[in-house]
């Protein structure tokens, strides 16, 4: 059940700074916690997040175990051309989620 919520404007003016917010469901298990049986729960975190605008990388981020569950990332970028923004999360246990939104720049 991996799902993500992306909040980006559907339209923007050329040269305008726009905010993009991305929220994803993930336990972000640190690997430092013992489970109910006393054994350590293996680490399970998102390691990497990136956003590409028409293929060009506009934001990337490496995650650490100290980041809370269901990470929420917000960043600003300049609107240059209409097209698609692709989001990618990858992590432990072959975690991989891709999402995309389209945006019209006038």
């Amino acid at each position: 059940m991996a799902n993500a919520l992306i909040n980006a404007p559907k339209t923007a003016k050329r040269g305008e700074a726009i905010e993009i917010k991305a929220l994803i469901l993930h336990p972000m298990e640190t690997g430092f916690r013992p489970g109910t049986n006393g054994r350590m729960i293996p680490r399970n975190i998102i390691e990497f997040f990136s956003a590409r605008w028409n293929g060009e990388e506009i934001f990337k981020m490496t995650f650490s175990p100290a980041i809370a569950a269901n990470p929420f990332v917000s960043f600003f970028t300049i609107a240059r051309e209409s097209g698609k923004i692709d989001f990618l999360w990858t992590g432990d246990e072959n975690f991989r989620v891709e999402e995309s939104v389209s945006i019209v720049v006038t």
């Binding site: 799902n3 929220l23 809370a68 929420f72």
Partner: protein
Amino acid sequence: MKFRRLGLMLLPVFAASYALAQGGGDKRRTGYQDMSPALQQMQDDDTSNPGMLFVQAGETLWKQPAGKANKSCADCHNGVETSMKGVAARYPAIPKGADTPVDLAGRINLCRTGQQQAEPLQPESQDLLALTSYVTYASRGLPIAPPNDPRLAKFRSEGEAMFRRREGQLNLSCANCHDDNAGKKLAGATIPQAHPTAYPVYRSEWQTVGSLQRRLRNCLIGIRTDAYAYDSPQYLALEVFLMDRARGLKIEAPGIRP
């Protein structure tokens, strides 16, 4: 005669001011009003509210066929916007052919075993929380309105008795904190009045969504008494009482709490 007429004329004025005093007399506050502005903002913005992830997952499950009947929730109920509107505001209720109440999660499981002929979902499982969140989302903003079923009275008074009964090593009742000392601080946190308006709720302490029963379990462990098993009649009685106590307050699920 004159005085009587004056009295009659003043009557609506008195009635109006009495009604006003009654309206203003509602001292009930939801946990939302007692939490930090940052958390309120997080809850209000659907794109930053992690509870919405569960609502979204619930929407997928709603449309997904399950069980031997190979039917999805949507096959019978269509969209939640109309069919499930206000449903969360009136549970727990006593379903047809039964004599004990079930909460919304229990009702979903009844549909699963009865209509879909599928295995019931485990309590607190992600799927059950997602479906419950999705159904509750359809009642967002509606006032809590427990049904006027006379059979519920027994459970309500049982719940109330539990609410007021001291228990555990700390010898505290629910009422000791949530009636007598609500609004004051307990270890830095504001004690809420315990109105279940936001369930299933995303607690930052849990880092996930949980049901009202999980929250009650937390409180029971907090006063150092044995918690009941999920779906035990004690929780149902408490839920019936709490929903009646919060009658008229608006559903704000999926809520966020610290």
